[in-house]
Structures are given as structure tokens and as C-alpha cells.
Amino acid sequence: MAKTYDCLFKLLLIGDSGVGKTSILFRFSEDAFNISFISTIGIDFKIRTIDLDGKKVKLQIWDTAGQERFRTITTAYYRGSMGIMLVYDVTNEKSFENIKNWIRNIEENASADVEKMILGNKCDLDAKRQVSKERGEQLAVEYQIKFVETSAKDSLNVEYAFYTLARDIKAKMEKKQEASNPPGGRSGAHQLKANEQQRKPTSWLSRCSVL
């Protein structure tokens, strides 16, 4: 049977409640936007296949609840993630300040080589803005994390953000592969297998029973 994809990346969205994580994911997976706020309960995921340099990359994106009470459930998902989006709301100072806490969370719970990206969402709401783009960039530079301002509503930079993160993961993975495998003669299936092995050390299935 022909495989429907070449690699699978597990991504995670974190950030304070209401910053627009679900909206960003909804925009990315369904290309739609909903003005009403339905706070996420626990965890959910969406899958979208993207084309990255001729490779079919399946993104399984986990959307976590921002509310404090779900923290234990959601942190369990850090471990298996290959990329994490840190989202804040440019109209909400507090959500921006909390990014540091979220980064600490990642450091404590995710694998060390996880790719990260900071998103300053709701940049369409210029009138209500509390966090300037410069401050966002400043923070990103401090942590050496990529940064982009997005708008789920106006569909601004959402695609870009996911593609960038996916591309970075892919690049990192290929670099690792090159380090462990001598170059040349890799078939698709072979690579998949390599991916599988790649993933296994960081796999979180052993934790599943704990969940």
C-alpha cells in the first residue's frame, strides 16, 4: 500500500486561555474563523498534510487548554512533541508576560531538542494592542526562538508559522540523520523507518498508560 505521507510531525500549541490557540489551529486546518469563544477542555488535535520540499508531511497538531485546571493533562503531551507553538495575545499584556512561564514549562517537560516558535496573535486588533511587535521580537531574540505576529481572524501568517516550524523540524531531523547515517541511497520507505527510529527514543507511548 502506498503511504499517504512521508513523515509525521507532532506539534503542540500552548499559551494562556483565550489567546487564540484553537482559532489558529482552526484557521490552519479548516481555513475558517469563529468569533465566539469556546474555551478548550483538556486536549484535542487536528491533522493536516502539507507539502514540504516535495515531501508529504503530516502534521498532528495538539491543541491544549490554556486554563490552569487542565495543566496536568496538557503537560503530559509535551514530551512527544517535536515542535511547540507558544502563543500570546498582543492585546493582552499578561498573556505575553506568561510566555516566559510557558517556556519554563517546556524546559521542564519537553524533550530538549524540541523546536519552538512564538506567535503574537490577534495582530488585527491594532486599536487594542498592548504588546508591541518589537517587544515580541525582543523576547524571541532573548530566547533565540523564531517569532511572528499572526491573526487567525485575518488569516495572517498562520500558514507561514506552521510551515516554518515544520521546515525547522525537518531540517533538524535531516541534520541528525546525516550525523547517524552515512549520506546517499535513502528510499522513502527507508526514511520512514528512520523517522520511526528517530521518534522512538522520544516516544511518549510508554507514558500513555500513566495518562
Binding site: M1, Y5, S36, I38, I41, F45, Q60, I73, S203, C208
Partner: protein, 759 residues
């Protein structure tokens, strides 16, 4: 002898014959007789002489006297002539005077008779001039009376004068002129009441309104507030007083006098009927645009008939009861149908209410004026249905808003204040919660109180319509209950269904199911609320419980679909290496991810009714089993190594462990495992290489591999064979491997045979 004869002759005057004969025949002859005659003559002469002698003197005297008389006579004659002349002279002037007198007398007589005649004419003339001036002053009725008098009393009394004839000839013309003029007046009147009747109707409606709102308290209040007003009410007291009917009555009188009363009545009725038709067509076209146009329409109609009714009661025969009722019944049907068409287009409940209020007022006013109200009450009922529809439409919008903005997460309250706010809006059992520390969490979402409040609002709005319809509290309450349940079971459920049309997050669905349960439980409170505001007895018997069943079913189905979809998404991530040589000994990552995700989800479904959770877990498990089984039998996969088979077996075992762990309560023991049974048997058969038992037991019910069809067994076996051939293509087979290959071929052959038998 001779002597005798003479004597005879002397004695006899005639018939002397015999005497003469005797003379002739006698003795002595005729000589003797002549002698005797002579003697006789002498004798007579002597006697004459003697006589003369005797009278001579007298004669002379007489002559003398005569002569004297003669002179006297002459004197007399002169005198008489004189007198005669005198008389003649004096009578001549007398005669002329007499004649003058006669003439004067005649003039006098003539004058008298002329005056007499003139006196007869005079009233005629004055009357005639009066008539003229009356006509000029448009006082037609007196004019006609005058005309009458003129014609029948005065004219006959006066002779046949030429001018009389002229007047006589004038009379019909005048009469016609009066009739025409009065007709013109009638037209003015008709025109006038056409413009006035809306005011009449408006006033009547205001009065009816006042009357309906009349209560002792109100009257006292009004008196207190405007003590003067009641005294100085100088305007018209009754609506019909707005109209001056005198032109009409005058016209009627005139026509009565003219003997054309019937014609007039007919004309009047025809005109009014025509006007009625105009009144019945709404002037502003669309009555549903504003209450104002509706008001003016009803005012006009009511005013029209109030005036007619007034004419009926004031007699005069202009309007008969039959005619009025006839016209009315024609009109009221038209009114009803006009109102029906116009109201059926209204989508604004407030407008509906105002219109209803107007119609109720209209009906009450009609009752006051003794006009039958049918079919208007029926119309009100129809409108009630439409109103309910309109309200429901509006509330659909409200519900949609609520649902659109709903968070579908349980209400969390941080302090007593917030807690009380929820408890105030929604009746629920707080006993358990009272003891909990803040923040407290309600089991339902904010949707529940919001919808509950809106249903109450709906009931308020709904009852507004039935107010003033004269329905009893019990009937109103029953209808209100009906409408409220209809609102929930139809409108709200409809909105929920619409919600389900797009895929919803699982938790949202769960909350919806929980919320509907709470809403359903709250119906009894709604009924209590209804009985309180309608002042009717509380009805406790209710057929609730199924109100949102459809929505719940939808939600449950969506939950199942949702879970199945998630399972599919996980299984789409499957990337088996079907030629795997050495299994890692660990389950595939997509399977463990999936199972942990599912157990997480199922835990969070805790608030769901058991039935729904069981259905959800069944659906998910079944989907996993089916998908895994299909994976194995997928014709696209040509080869399956035993390594791959073991990997899959390991994954299935994970799933079976999950199923055996009874992830939700309420399941039959081992129930979920049954979904994996056929897959399990297939895997056991192949991995256990237990072909003899399989072929032996085939067709036996309850056998160890009863769920494995020869076809599936063959399919999988083929794949295994393909894989083994591939891996050993260059190597030399060992003896037992050759035997195994041989057995495999035999089994395949047998399975094919079995397939053919079945097929």
C-alpha cells in the same frame, strides 16, 4: 093702421121687412103712409123747435163760458210751458250728475272687487317671494312647504291669471331645483362624513378603551387628577355628535315632501354601500407597515358603521336594521380577510400586539354598538397562532445568538454573589453545592439559565397576546404551556440541530447533552411560573422527558461520529512496515497515542448519561477493530511478514487491554472485546498455525475460529506466503521450511475449495 106701422119702424131698428110689406099691402096705399110720415116729420120739427127754444139761453151761456175757459186754457198752457221749461232746465244737470254718480258707483264697485281679488293674490305673491328667498337661502325644506301651500292652497284660490299660470308653470321647475340642490347637499354630506368617520371611529375606540379600563380606582384617580375636566367637557359626548346629520335629515324631509323618499333612501343606501367598499380597501395599501395605518383603517370602518347605526336608532327609515346588518356582514368578512392578509405578513411581535390590541378594542366597540363581531374573534385566534410563530422566529434568533456565543463550559462562580446570581435566574437544586468552597462549579453551562430566562421572556411576550381576549386563566396557562414546550421542543431543538450540522468539539457536545437535561428538568418550574402569572392551577402532569431527545440523540450520534473520526485520524497515521523482520516489542505509537487520547476523552465524558458513554465507547472500539482488521486484509498490501504480523498483534493486544479495562461503567462484561473477536481469531489462527483445528471446526457453531471466513484466512495466508517467498528467494530452503511451505499450499488449496463451495 098707418100709425101702427110707424111705431113699429121707430121701435125696431132693423128687420124692417114685415113693416114695409104691410105698408105696401095695406088699405090706403103708400100715399097714406107718406102723408102720415110728413105729419110725423112736422111733429118732430115742432118738438125740435120747442127744444131749441128751451136750451138756447143755456147754450149762449155755455158758449160764453167756453170762451172764458178758452182764455183760461191759454193761460194754463203758457204756465205749463213755463214750468215745463223750468223743469227741463233743472233736470238736465241732475241727469248729468246722476250719470256721473252712476259711473262713480260703478268705479267704486270695481275698485272694491279689485281689492278683493288683490287681497287673494297678495298671500300668493308674498308666499312666492318667500319661496324665492327660501330657495336662495337654501332652506329647502321650508321652501318645499311653501311651495306646497302655494300649489294647493293659494293658487287655486286665486283666479286664472296669466301670472298664476306662470307661477304654476314655475313650480315643477322650482321643485326640481330644490331636489337637485338637496342632492348636492347630500353629496356634500356624504363627502363630509367620509372624512369625519375615522374621527368618529377613533373617538368611539377611545371611549371603549376608557370604558374597559374603568374601575372604581381609576375613576377616583382620574377625578383627583383632573377635577375640572369632567365638568368642562364641552365637546361632543358621543362619537356621532362629531357629525352634523341635519343636512341628511333635511334631504330626507325634502324627498319625503317630494314624494321621493323611497328613491332617496335607495340612493342613500347605494351611495353608502359604495363608500363602505372604499372604506374597506385600506387607503395606505400595506397595513402591516405601521400601527398607524392599521388604526386609521379600523377607525374608518368603525366610524362608518357607528354613523349608520346612529341613523338606525334615530329612525327616519333611512337605514334599516336588515340593511345595516347586511352591509355589516359583507364588510366584516372583508375586514377580517384584509386583516388576515395583512397581519400574516407581519414579523414584528410588538406590531402584532398593538394590532391585536386595536382589534380587541374594535371588537369591544362593535359590541357596544350592537354589531356582530364574527368572524373577528376567530381571526384573533388565527393571529395568535401567527403571533406564536413570529415570536418563535424571533426566539430562534435569540437562541441562535445564545448558542453562537455559548462557551459550553460549566458555569464557574467565584463568590456568593455570582452564585446567587445564577441561583436567582435558574431554579436548581443547590443543596449539594452550598457546602462546596468557592469557586463553585455548576454542572450546566451558562446556556441553561440564558435559555431558561428567554423561555420566560417568551412566555411573557406570548401571554401579552392572550391578555384581554377574555380567556380564562386555565385556558391561557394551557396554551402558554403548549407554546413554551413548542418553543423548546421545536425552536430550541431546531437551533441545536443546526448547531450539530457543523462538527462540534466533543466537550461541547457533552455539555449540550447535560444542559438539555437541566432544561428539561426545569420545565416544571416553567409550568409553575406560568400558573403563577396566569393565576391558574398548577398543572403537574407533563409529558416531558422526551422534549430534547432528538437533540440528545443528535448530540450522542455526533459524539460517536466525532470519536470515530478521531480514531480514523489516528489510524490514518498508521505506517506499518509490512515486511518487518524483527518486531520492536513495543506497540505502534499511533495506537498508544490513540488509546491514551481515548481514555482521556472518555474520562471527561463522565457527566454524560451512561447510555451515551457506552454508545460512544462502543462506536470507538468497533471502529478501531474494523480499521485494524481492514488494514490486515487490505488488498493493497500484498505481503505481510510474520514480523509485521506480530507487530500488529501487539497493537491489537493493546487495544484489547483497553477494551477489557472497561473504560466506562455500564458495559456488559467483555462486551468491548467482542469487537476484536474476529480479528483476534484470525490473528490467533495465523500466528498459532492452527489450521487443522480450523478446518476441522469449520461450519461448527461456537468453534474456536468460528468468526474467520475461509476467504479472510486465505487472503492473509497468501500475503504471508508472498512475504516468505520474497525473503527466501535467494536462500535454499531447509527441510522443515519446505514442509511448512507445502502445508501452506495445502491449506490454501483447502481454503479455496471451501470458498468455492460457499461462493
Amino acid at each position: 093702421m098707418t100709425n101702427a106701422t110707424i111705431q113699429e119702424i121707430e121701435g125696431i131698428d132693423d128687420y124692417w121687412g114685415p113693416a114695409f110689406r104691410s105698408v105696401y099691402e095695406g088699405e090706403g096705399g103708400h100715399e097714406a103712409f107718406v102723408q102720415q110720415l110728413d105729419e110725423r116729420i112736422q111733429q118732430h120739427d115742432k118738438e125740435i123747435e120747442k127744444l131749441c127754444n128751451f136750451y138756447y139761453q143755456g147754450f149762449i151761456d155755455s158758449i160764453r163760458e167756453l170762451l172764458q175757459v178758452r182764455s183760461h186754457a191759454e193761460e194754463l198752457h203758457a204756465e205749463i210751458s213755463n214750468v215745463d221749461a223750468n223743469v227741463k232746465e233743472s233736470t238736465e244737470s241732475l241727469c248729468t250728475r246722476a250719470e256721473e254718480l252712476i259711473r262713480a258707483r260703478r268705479v267704486e264697485l270695481n275698485i272694491a272687487s279689485t281689492i278683493e281679488k288683490m287681497e287673494l293674490c297678495l298671500p300668493l305673491l308674498t308666499t312666492y317671494s318667500k319661496l324665492k328667498s327660501q330657495v336662495e337661502a337654501k332652506r329647502y325644506y321650508p321652501a318645499l312647504k311653501t311651495l306646497e301651500q302655494l300649489e294647493h292652497v293659494l293658487l287655486p284660490r286665486v283666479g286664472p291669471y296669466k301670472w298664476c299660470a306662470q307661477i304654476s308653470a314655475d313650480i315643477p321647475r322650482l321643485r326640481q331645483a330644490i331636489q337637485d340642490a338637496s342632492m348636492a347637499d347630500l353629496r356634500d354630506f356624504l363627502e363630509n362624513i367620509r372624512t369625519l368617520s375615522p374621527q368618529v371611529g377613533a373617538m368611539a375606540l377611545v371611549q371603549t378603551q376608557d370604558m374597559l379600563g374603568r374601575s372604581l380606582a381609576n375613576i377616583v384617580k382620574n377625578k383627583k387628577e383632573n377635577p375640572l375636566q369632567s365638568i368642562e367637557s364641552s365637546g361632543p359626548q358621543c362619537p356621532h355628535e362629531l357629525v352634523d346629520f341635519s343636512p341628511l335629515h333635511r334631504c330626507l324631509h325634502i324627498h319625503t315632501v317630494l314624494g321621493a323618499k323611497n328613491d332617496f333612501v335607495q340612493y342613500y343606501r347605494a351611495q353608502r354601500k359604495q363608500q363602505a367598499r372604499l372604506v374597506l380597501i385600506p387607503s395606505s395599501g400595506n397595513l402591516h407597515d405601521s400601527i398607524q395605518s392599521m388604526k386609521s383603517y379600523l377607525n374608518a370602518v368603525l366610524g362608518f358603521f357607528i354613523l349608520e347605526e346612529h341613523l338606525l336608532t334615530t329612525g327616519a327609515g333611512l337605514v334599516s336594521k336588515d340593511w345595516l346588518l347586511d352591509t355589516w356582514s359583507m364588510s366584516v368578512t372583508k375586514v377580517a380577510s384584509t386583516l388576515r392578509t395583512n397581519t400574516s405578513l407581519i414579523t414584528d411581535p410588538t406590531l402584532m400586539l398593538s394590532i391585536k390590541r386595536q382589534i380587541v378594542l374594535f371588537i369591544n366597540a362593535l359590541k357596544c354598538y350592537g354589531l356582530p363581531t364574527d368572524p373577528l374573534p376567530l381571526l384573533l385566534q388565527e393571529m395568535a397562532e401567527h403571533y406564536t410563530e413570529v415570536l418563535m422566529q424571533r426566539w430562534v434568533g435569540i437562541f441562535r445568538d445564545i448558542l453562537d456565543n455559548a462557551s459550553f463550559s460549566p458555569i464557574e462562580v467565584k463568590n456568593q454573589e455570582e452564585y446567587d446570581a445564577v441561583m436567582d435566574t435558574f431554579p436548581c437544586d443547590g443543596d449539594e453545592m452550598e457546602t462546596q468552597p468557592f469557586p463553585r462549579k455548576f454542572p450546566f453551562s451558562s446556556l441553561v439559565p440564558a435559555v431558561y430566562v428567554q423561555v420566560k421572556e417568551f412566555i411573557y411576550a406570548w401571554l401579552k397576546y392572550s391578555a384581554g381576549l377574555g380567556l380564562g386563566g386555565g385556558r391561557r396557562a394551557a396554551a402558554a404551556r403548549h407554546s413554551a414546550s413548542l418553543l423548546l421542543s421545536r425552536s430550541f431543538t431546531g437551533c441545536l440541530s443546526a448547531l450539530f450540522r457543523r462538527p462540534l468539539p466533543l466537550m461541547q457536545l457533552v455539555q449540550i447533552i447535560v444542559d438539555t437535561q437541566y432544561l428539561e428538568d426545569a420545565t416544571s418550574f416553567l409550568y409553575e411560573f406560568i400558573s403563577n402569572i396566569t393565576g391558574s392551577e398548577l398543572v403537574t402532569t407533563q409529558a416531558a422527558g422526551s422534549m430534547f431527545q432528538a437533540a440528545r440523540d443528535d448530540a450522542e450520534k455526533q459524539i460517536c461520529d466525532n470519536l470515530e473520526k478521531k480514531v480514523d485520524e489516528f489510524l490514518d497515521l498508521e505506517n506499518y512496515d509490512w515486511l518487518l523482520v524483527e518486531p520492536s516489542g513495543q506497540a505502534s505509537s499511533f495506537v498508544t497515542d490513540m488509546l491514551s487520547y481515548l481514555s482521556g476523552v472518555l474520562t471527561s465524558l463522565e457527566q454524560l448519561p451512561e447510555r451515551a458513554r457506552v454508545a460512544a465507547v462502543r462506536a470507538a472500539t468497533n471502529r478501531i477493530a474494523t480499521r485494524l482488521r481492514n488494514l490486515l486484509l487490505d488488498p493493497g498490501v500484498r505481503q505481510v511478514s510474520s514480523g509485521a504480523l506480530y507487530q500488529l498483534d501487539l497493537d491489537v493486544i493493546q487495544c484489547e487491554q483497553f477494551a477489557a479495562g472497561e473504560p466506562v461503567p455500564g458495559l456488559r462484561e467483555g462486551e468491548l472485546l467482542e469487537h476484536f473477536a474476529s480479528l483476534r481469531q484470525l490473528l490467533d489462527l495465523i500466528t498459532g498455525w492452527d489450521w487443522s483445528s480450523y478446518l476441522h471446526d469449520i461450519g461448527i457453531e461456537g468453534g474456536k475460529y468460528a468468526l474467520v471466513t475461509p476467504r479472510d484466512a486465505a487472503t492473509l495466508l497468501e500475503k504471508l506466503k508472498e512475504a516468505e517467498q520474497k525473503s527466501s528467494v535467494f536462500s535454499v530452503l531447509k527441510k522443515n521450511e519446505r514442509d511448512r511451505r507445502k502445508l501452506l499450499d495445502t491449506v490454501l488449496k483447502q481454503l479455496k475449495q471451501l470458498q468455492n463451495q460457499d461462493g
